[in-house]
Protein backbone atom coordinates (compact mmCIF):
# COMPACT_ATOMS: atom_id res chain seq x y z
CA UNK A 1 0.00 0.00 0.00
CA UNK A 2 1.05 3.55 -0.79
CA UNK A 3 2.69 5.41 2.05
CA UNK A 4 0.43 8.14 3.40
CA UNK A 5 1.80 11.65 3.72
CA UNK A 6 0.06 14.13 5.99
CA UNK A 7 0.84 17.09 3.79
CA UNK A 8 0.04 15.41 0.49
CA UNK A 9 -2.89 13.18 1.44
CA UNK A 10 -4.54 14.52 4.59
CA UNK A 11 -4.20 18.31 4.55
CA UNK A 12 -5.71 18.72 1.06
CA UNK A 13 -8.93 17.17 2.40
CA UNK A 14 -9.44 20.25 4.59
CA UNK A 15 -12.02 21.99 2.38
CA UNK A 16 -14.05 18.82 1.81
CA UNK A 17 -14.02 18.13 5.55
CA UNK A 18 -14.94 21.76 6.24
CA UNK A 19 -17.97 21.56 3.96
CA UNK A 20 -19.04 18.32 5.63
CA UNK A 21 -18.56 19.76 9.13
CA UNK A 22 -20.48 22.86 8.08
CA UNK A 23 -23.33 20.75 6.72
CA UNK A 24 -23.57 18.98 10.08
CA UNK A 25 -22.92 21.80 12.55
CA UNK A 26 -24.45 24.56 10.37
CA UNK A 27 -21.95 26.92 11.96
CA UNK A 28 -18.90 28.34 10.22
CA UNK A 29 -16.66 28.77 13.27
CA UNK A 30 -17.59 25.41 14.76
CA UNK A 31 -17.00 23.71 11.43
CA UNK A 32 -13.53 25.22 11.22
CA UNK A 33 -12.76 23.99 14.74
CA UNK A 34 -14.01 20.54 13.81
CA UNK A 35 -11.67 20.36 10.80
CA UNK A 36 -8.71 21.47 12.90
CA UNK A 37 -9.50 18.89 15.57
CA UNK A 38 -9.93 16.27 12.85
CA UNK A 39 -6.51 17.07 11.39
CA UNK A 40 -4.81 16.84 14.78
CA UNK A 41 -6.62 13.63 15.66
CA UNK A 42 -5.68 12.04 12.33
CA UNK A 43 -2.08 13.15 12.86
CA UNK A 44 -1.99 11.66 16.34
CA UNK A 45 -3.35 8.38 14.98
CA UNK A 46 -0.65 8.20 12.30
CA UNK A 47 0.61 4.89 13.61
CA UNK A 48 -2.66 3.41 12.34
CA UNK A 49 -2.31 4.84 8.82
CA UNK A 50 -0.58 1.82 7.28
CA UNK A 51 -3.56 -0.38 8.19
CA UNK A 52 -6.16 2.03 6.80
CA UNK A 53 -7.81 1.17 3.50
CA UNK A 54 -8.84 4.74 2.68
CA UNK A 55 -7.38 7.71 4.52
CA UNK A 56 -10.16 9.84 3.08
CA UNK A 57 -12.93 7.66 4.54
CA UNK A 58 -10.95 7.59 7.83
CA UNK A 59 -10.85 11.42 7.91
CA UNK A 60 -14.53 11.73 6.99
CA UNK A 61 -15.50 9.35 9.80
CA UNK A 62 -13.49 11.29 12.38
CA UNK A 63 -14.71 14.63 11.08
CA UNK A 64 -18.36 13.54 11.14
CA UNK A 65 -18.10 12.17 14.67
CA UNK A 66 -16.45 15.35 15.93
CA UNK A 67 -19.05 17.46 14.13
CA UNK A 68 -21.89 15.44 15.67
CA UNK A 69 -20.33 15.88 19.12
CA UNK A 70 -19.99 19.60 18.52
CA UNK A 71 -23.56 19.84 17.31
CA UNK A 72 -24.81 18.16 20.48
CA UNK A 73 -22.79 20.53 22.64
CA UNK A 74 -23.94 23.63 20.84
CA UNK A 75 -26.56 25.27 23.00
CA UNK A 76 -27.56 28.18 20.86
CA UNK A 77 -27.44 26.75 17.43
CA UNK A 78 -28.35 29.52 15.08
CA UNK A 79 -28.74 28.75 11.46
CA UNK A 80 -29.77 32.19 10.29
CA UNK A 81 -26.93 33.95 12.08
CA UNK A 82 -24.40 31.85 10.31
CA UNK A 83 -25.71 32.21 6.82
CA UNK A 84 -24.42 35.72 6.42
CA UNK A 85 -20.89 34.48 7.04
CA UNK A 86 -20.59 32.04 4.20
CA UNK A 87 -22.69 33.59 1.55
CA UNK A 88 -21.24 33.16 -1.90
CA UNK A 89 -19.88 36.24 -3.57
CA UNK A 90 -21.18 35.59 -7.07
CA UNK A 91 -22.46 32.27 -8.25
CA UNK A 92 -25.12 33.46 -10.56
CA UNK A 93 -24.92 33.22 -14.28
CA UNK A 94 -27.46 35.97 -14.80
CA UNK A 95 -26.19 39.35 -15.87
CA UNK A 96 -28.97 41.43 -14.41
CA UNK A 97 -28.77 42.18 -10.67
CA UNK A 98 -32.42 41.46 -10.10
CA UNK A 99 -32.12 38.03 -11.68
CA UNK A 100 -28.95 37.50 -9.66
CA UNK A 101 -30.81 38.13 -6.43
CA UNK A 102 -33.58 35.77 -7.42
CA UNK A 103 -31.08 33.06 -8.32
CA UNK A 104 -29.25 33.66 -5.05
CA UNK A 105 -32.48 33.44 -3.09
CA UNK A 106 -33.25 30.11 -4.69
CA UNK A 107 -29.82 28.79 -3.82
CA UNK A 108 -30.28 29.91 -0.24
CA UNK A 109 -33.69 28.26 -0.17
CA UNK A 110 -32.33 24.92 -1.38
CA UNK A 111 -29.45 25.20 1.04
CA UNK A 112 -31.94 25.70 3.86
CA UNK A 113 -33.96 22.71 2.68
CA UNK A 114 -30.79 20.62 2.66
CA UNK A 115 -29.83 21.79 6.12
CA UNK A 116 -33.25 20.78 7.44
CA UNK A 117 -32.85 17.17 6.35
CA UNK A 118 -32.07 14.51 8.95
CA UNK A 119 -28.31 14.41 9.55
CA UNK A 120 -27.68 11.08 7.82
CA UNK A 121 -29.54 12.15 4.68
CA UNK A 122 -27.77 15.48 4.75
CA UNK A 123 -24.34 13.91 5.11
CA UNK A 124 -25.00 11.31 2.42
CA UNK A 125 -26.26 13.97 0.00
CA UNK A 126 -23.33 16.23 0.85
CA UNK A 127 -20.77 13.53 0.09
CA UNK A 128 -22.52 12.31 -3.05
CA UNK A 129 -23.93 15.42 -4.72
CA UNK A 130 -21.40 18.02 -3.65
CA UNK A 131 -18.21 16.03 -3.16
CA UNK A 132 -18.93 13.44 -5.85
CA UNK A 133 -18.12 10.38 -3.72
CA UNK A 134 -19.11 6.85 -4.71
CA UNK A 135 -21.73 4.98 -2.67
CA UNK A 136 -19.03 2.58 -1.53
CA UNK A 137 -16.83 5.37 -0.15
CA UNK A 138 -19.76 6.98 1.67
CA UNK A 139 -20.79 3.62 3.11
CA UNK A 140 -17.25 3.03 4.41
CA UNK A 141 -17.00 6.50 5.94
CA UNK A 142 -20.40 6.33 7.64
CA UNK A 143 -20.10 2.64 8.51
CA UNK A 144 -23.44 1.76 6.95
CA UNK A 145 -24.36 -0.40 3.93
CA UNK A 146 -24.32 0.91 0.36
CA UNK A 147 -28.04 0.22 0.21
CA UNK A 148 -28.60 2.47 3.23
CA UNK A 149 -26.54 5.20 1.55
CA UNK A 150 -28.69 4.96 -1.58
CA UNK A 151 -31.90 5.09 0.44
CA UNK A 152 -30.70 8.16 2.34
CA UNK A 153 -29.72 9.94 -0.87
CA UNK A 154 -33.00 9.02 -2.54
CA UNK A 155 -35.02 10.39 0.39
CA UNK A 156 -32.93 13.55 0.58
CA UNK A 157 -33.37 14.31 -3.15
CA UNK A 158 -37.07 13.55 -3.03
CA UNK A 159 -37.60 15.87 -0.06
CA UNK A 160 -35.62 18.67 -1.69
CA UNK A 161 -37.55 18.33 -4.93
CA UNK A 162 -40.98 18.23 -3.31
CA UNK A 163 -40.36 21.07 -0.87
CA UNK A 164 -38.60 23.24 -3.41
CA UNK A 165 -41.27 22.83 -6.08
CA UNK A 166 -44.00 23.41 -3.49
CA UNK A 167 -42.30 26.60 -2.30
CA UNK A 168 -41.82 27.83 -5.86
CA UNK A 169 -45.45 27.12 -6.63
CA UNK A 170 -47.08 28.57 -3.52
CA UNK A 171 -44.45 30.93 -2.27
CA UNK A 172 -42.61 30.82 1.01
Amino acid sequence: MKKISFQADVLPLKDMLFRLALRITLNHAEAEDVVQETMIKVWNLREQWPGIESIEAFCITICRNLALDKQKKMVNQSQSLDESQHEAPDTSHAANPEQQTVANDRIQLIKRLMDRLPEKQRTCMQLRDIEGKAYKEIAAALDISEQQVKVNIFRARQTIRQQYLATEQYGL
Binding site: A88, L109, M114
Partner: protein, 171 residues
Protein backbone atom coordinates in the same frame (compact mmCIF):
# COMPACT_ATOMS: atom_id res chain seq x y z
CA UNK B 1 -28.07 19.10 -26.82
CA UNK B 2 -30.64 16.38 -26.49
CA UNK B 3 -33.01 17.67 -23.81
CA UNK B 4 -34.94 14.40 -23.65
CA UNK B 5 -31.74 12.85 -22.36
CA UNK B 6 -31.38 15.57 -19.73
CA UNK B 7 -35.03 15.19 -18.74
CA UNK B 8 -34.48 11.50 -18.25
CA UNK B 9 -31.33 12.16 -16.28
CA UNK B 10 -33.17 14.58 -13.98
CA UNK B 11 -35.88 11.99 -13.30
CA UNK B 12 -33.31 9.30 -12.68
CA UNK B 13 -31.36 11.69 -10.43
CA UNK B 14 -34.35 12.20 -8.15
CA UNK B 15 -34.96 8.46 -8.15
CA UNK B 16 -31.37 7.95 -7.00
CA UNK B 17 -30.43 5.97 -10.10
CA UNK B 18 -27.82 8.15 -11.75
CA UNK B 19 -24.11 7.42 -11.82
CA UNK B 20 -21.47 9.88 -10.60
CA UNK B 21 -20.69 10.74 -14.21
CA UNK B 22 -24.32 11.48 -15.03
CA UNK B 23 -24.63 13.64 -11.94
CA UNK B 24 -21.61 15.62 -13.13
CA UNK B 25 -23.30 16.09 -16.50
CA UNK B 26 -26.38 17.48 -14.73
CA UNK B 27 -24.34 19.91 -12.63
CA UNK B 28 -22.51 21.13 -15.71
CA UNK B 29 -25.70 21.43 -17.74
CA UNK B 30 -27.62 23.40 -15.12
CA UNK B 31 -24.86 25.88 -14.36
CA UNK B 32 -24.74 27.26 -17.89
CA UNK B 33 -26.50 30.47 -18.92
CA UNK B 34 -30.16 30.36 -17.98
CA UNK B 35 -31.17 31.16 -21.55
CA UNK B 36 -29.47 27.98 -22.70
CA UNK B 37 -31.63 25.83 -20.47
CA UNK B 38 -35.07 24.91 -21.88
CA UNK B 39 -37.93 26.54 -19.95
CA UNK B 40 -39.46 23.27 -18.72
CA UNK B 41 -36.17 22.28 -17.10
CA UNK B 42 -35.25 25.69 -15.65
CA UNK B 43 -37.03 24.98 -12.39
CA UNK B 44 -34.38 22.40 -11.54
CA UNK B 45 -31.44 24.68 -12.23
CA UNK B 46 -31.23 26.09 -8.64
CA UNK B 47 -30.95 22.58 -7.22
CA UNK B 48 -27.80 21.85 -9.17
CA UNK B 49 -26.54 25.41 -8.91
CA UNK B 50 -26.70 25.02 -5.12
CA UNK B 51 -24.62 21.85 -5.26
CA UNK B 52 -21.97 23.61 -7.32
CA UNK B 53 -22.14 26.69 -5.11
CA UNK B 54 -21.66 24.63 -1.95
CA UNK B 55 -18.64 22.91 -3.46
CA UNK B 56 -16.96 26.30 -3.69
CA UNK B 57 -16.84 26.78 0.08
CA UNK B 58 -13.35 26.54 1.53
CA UNK B 59 -11.25 27.31 4.57
CA UNK B 60 -9.00 30.35 4.78
CA UNK B 61 -5.38 30.16 3.66
CA UNK B 62 -4.11 30.50 7.23
CA UNK B 63 -5.68 27.16 8.14
CA UNK B 64 -3.01 25.18 6.28
CA UNK B 65 -0.15 26.84 8.16
CA UNK B 66 -1.99 26.66 11.48
CA UNK B 67 -2.49 22.91 11.24
CA UNK B 68 1.06 22.37 9.98
CA UNK B 69 2.38 24.25 12.99
CA UNK B 70 0.19 22.26 15.36
CA UNK B 71 1.31 18.96 13.91
CA UNK B 72 4.96 19.95 13.68
CA UNK B 73 5.37 20.39 17.41
CA UNK B 74 3.85 17.05 18.19
CA UNK B 75 6.33 14.71 16.48
CA UNK B 76 9.36 15.59 18.61
CA UNK B 77 7.45 14.64 21.75
CA UNK B 78 5.66 11.63 20.38
CA UNK B 79 8.62 10.31 18.41
CA UNK B 80 10.68 10.17 21.57
CA UNK B 81 7.98 8.01 23.06
CA UNK B 82 7.91 5.57 20.19
CA UNK B 83 11.58 4.60 20.61
CA UNK B 84 11.88 2.41 23.65
CA UNK B 85 14.89 2.63 25.93
CA UNK B 86 16.00 -0.90 25.10
CA UNK B 87 15.83 -0.08 21.39
CA UNK B 88 17.72 3.12 21.92
CA UNK B 89 20.49 1.36 23.88
CA UNK B 90 20.68 -1.62 21.55
CA UNK B 91 23.73 -0.41 19.54
CA UNK B 92 25.52 0.43 22.76
CA UNK B 93 24.71 -2.99 24.24
CA UNK B 94 25.91 -4.65 21.06
CA UNK B 95 29.22 -2.80 21.25
CA UNK B 96 29.55 -3.74 24.92
CA UNK B 97 28.87 -7.38 24.08
CA UNK B 98 31.58 -7.36 21.41
CA UNK B 99 34.06 -5.82 23.86
CA UNK B 100 33.14 -8.44 26.47
CA UNK B 101 33.68 -11.27 24.01
CA UNK B 102 37.05 -9.86 22.91
CA UNK B 103 38.13 -9.36 26.51
CA UNK B 104 37.17 -12.85 27.59
CA UNK B 105 38.91 -14.32 24.56
CA UNK B 106 42.15 -12.46 25.30
CA UNK B 107 41.84 -13.44 28.95
CA UNK B 108 41.45 -17.07 27.97
CA UNK B 109 44.44 -16.82 25.62
CA UNK B 110 46.58 -15.22 28.35
CA UNK B 111 45.63 -17.97 30.74
CA UNK B 112 46.54 -20.79 28.37
CA UNK B 113 49.79 -19.04 27.45
CA UNK B 114 50.83 -18.61 31.09
CA UNK B 115 49.97 -22.25 31.78
CA UNK B 116 52.25 -23.23 28.94
CA UNK B 117 55.04 -21.16 30.48
CA UNK B 118 54.54 -22.82 33.88
CA UNK B 119 55.02 -26.18 32.26
CA UNK B 120 58.29 -24.91 30.86
CA UNK B 121 59.34 -23.81 34.36
CA UNK B 122 59.44 -27.40 35.62
CA UNK B 123 62.84 -28.63 36.96
CA UNK B 124 65.16 -29.74 34.25
CA UNK B 125 67.73 -32.08 35.78
CA UNK B 126 69.81 -31.98 32.69
CA UNK B 127 70.54 -28.34 33.41
CA UNK B 128 72.03 -29.10 36.84
CA UNK B 129 75.78 -29.08 37.27
CA UNK B 130 77.72 -31.34 39.56
CA UNK B 131 78.96 -29.75 42.79
CA UNK B 132 81.84 -32.08 43.43
CA UNK B 133 84.43 -33.31 41.05
CA UNK B 134 85.57 -36.09 43.33
CA UNK B 135 83.00 -38.88 43.68
CA UNK B 136 84.44 -39.99 47.06
CA UNK B 137 84.13 -36.53 48.58
CA UNK B 138 80.56 -36.31 47.20
CA UNK B 139 79.66 -39.66 48.68
CA UNK B 140 81.10 -38.58 52.07
CA UNK B 141 78.98 -35.42 52.00
CA UNK B 142 75.81 -37.38 51.16
CA UNK B 143 76.55 -39.91 53.92
CA UNK B 144 77.03 -37.08 56.46
CA UNK B 145 73.79 -35.44 55.36
CA UNK B 146 71.88 -38.70 55.60
CA UNK B 147 73.45 -39.41 59.01
CA UNK B 148 72.32 -36.02 60.25
CA UNK B 149 68.80 -36.72 58.98
CA UNK B 150 68.77 -40.17 60.50
CA UNK B 151 69.78 -38.80 63.94
CA UNK B 152 66.96 -36.33 63.89
CA UNK B 153 64.44 -38.94 62.73
CA UNK B 154 62.86 -41.75 64.71
CA UNK B 155 64.39 -40.68 68.06
CA UNK B 156 61.84 -41.37 70.81
CA UNK B 157 62.40 -39.76 74.21
CA UNK B 158 62.02 -41.55 77.51
CA UNK B 159 59.03 -39.45 78.47
CA UNK B 160 57.12 -40.18 75.34
CA UNK B 161 54.51 -42.55 76.68
CA UNK B 162 51.03 -43.04 75.27
CA UNK B 163 49.76 -41.12 78.27
CA UNK B 164 51.89 -38.08 77.56
CA UNK B 165 50.94 -38.05 73.87
CA UNK B 166 47.19 -38.67 74.39
CA UNK B 167 46.60 -37.60 78.02
CA UNK B 168 42.81 -37.52 77.77
CA UNK B 169 42.51 -41.06 76.38
CA UNK B 170 43.06 -42.69 79.83
CA UNK B 171 40.45 -40.68 81.66
Amino acid sequence: MDYKYIEQLVERYFEGETTLQEEQILRTFFTQEEEEIPVELRKYAPVFATLVHEFGLSLGDDFYDRVLKLTEEAPTVVKARTIRLSERLRPLLRAAAVVAVVLSLTQAMNLSLSQGQQQNDEINYADYKDTYDDPVAARGQVEDALQLLSEGYSQAHQGDTLMSVFPTEEQ
